[in-house]
Symmetry: C2
Subunit: 208 residues, 2 copies
């Protein structure tokens, strides 16, 4: 298909497609002549993936490049998951060693029996939130950790289960990337729904 | 205390404190004369709260203003939670009625027995992710919903439990805001840790 049809089928403007081409996020098209590029279904798929990662996952173009490279590389899937995790915005530096947040996170992770590398980006994110709770004089919020960990384990297991369902290696890698990036938004959305339900039940009882 | 001491104790620069004052995010200080403002411990607390919401929660100054107003207003706590939810970045418009994502979310929410209002911001976030999964030809990822919902319910119940622990109404409201905004980051961090652990176990077994 021509560029105009690619734009129509993918819902991405011609200007944006050209931008993604310059950024080398799209596979090369077939060329019957220097001015005649022909695009195929895999270009439509790639454009939809880019838009989902940018619009729904909140990734920058640079981050999209990193996760696409991870999805295509012939590296072990647990590495690909690590690259996808590092590409997601919100990564932060680990608080200083000796921070109470780091100690608490490492302690609860050990009690869950998790094998987690020191540079897992989630370790820094979680430790930083715990340090904030403490600084805000909300030490009691650390009591959520065991149940948050149980819930995170449920989510992580079903995440990995969907990867195992895939028919081939390319789809497995794509699932790691898509599910890791968009799954944060999905869970955050469901948490807000469950919170509203729990709030209605708890506060309407308490205040009535 | 004077401005310089307030800056030192809170770790927030004098320029930033003056900015937050112009934005009316701080309580008025006591003034012994027009040029002599005296700040108290509640100013230190407020500055720490603002910085946690901005730096760790990713809120804009406008969003901070809305959640602080929600925390201070004498409104039912379930309303305050709704305002905190709406103030969190990442809110999106609900996809068109008739979108498959909306149908799926409403159906799983009903099967959980959740009472959720149509404008719950999480409903739109979650529906949009499901529509992305479908558009990316990853319908199998919808199979995560029941387990994600169970995990979200665990998290929401412990969230609400921490609110009930608070000694007074002001602390309850603050807990709603802090726990809702920063809890997303905490959970996302723990999910990455649990994913790494699950990936090691699953892929190293599958590929060995």
């Amino acid at each position: 298909m021509k560029m105009s049809e690619l734009s129509e089928r993918s819902g991405v403007s011609v200007a944006s497609i050209k931008f993604y081409q310059r950024e080398e996020l799209l596979p090369e098209p077939e060329r019957s002549s220097p001015n005649q590029a022909r695009y195929a279904a895999n270009h439509v798929d790639r454009l939809r993936l880019i838009r989902a990662l940018v619009d729904v996952g909140g990734l920058s173009v640079a981050a999209v490049r990193r996760v696409l490279a991870a999805a295509e590389a012939d590296i072990p899937l647990d590495w690909a998951m690590g690259v996808a995790q590092h590409a997601i915005p919100g990564s932060v530096e680990l608080p200083d060693q000796g921070s109470r947040g780091v100690t608490e996170i490492d302690s609860v992770s050990a009690s869950m029996g998790w094998m987690v590398s020191p540079d897992n980006p989630g370790r820094a994110m979680a430790a930083r939130v715990l340090d904030s709770y403490l600084q805000l004089d909300h030490e009691e919020l650390l009591s959520v950790l065991p149940e948050y960990c149980s819930a995170a384990e449920i989510v992580a297991r079903v995440d990995l289960g969907t990867v195992a369902l895939q028919p081939n290696r390319a789809r497995m890698s794509e699932t790691v990337v898509v599910g890791t990036v968009l799954g944060d938004s999905l869970f955050a959305g469901l948490r807000r729904m469950a919170q509203e339900d729990a709030a209605h039940r708890q506060f309407s009882r308490a205040e009535s």
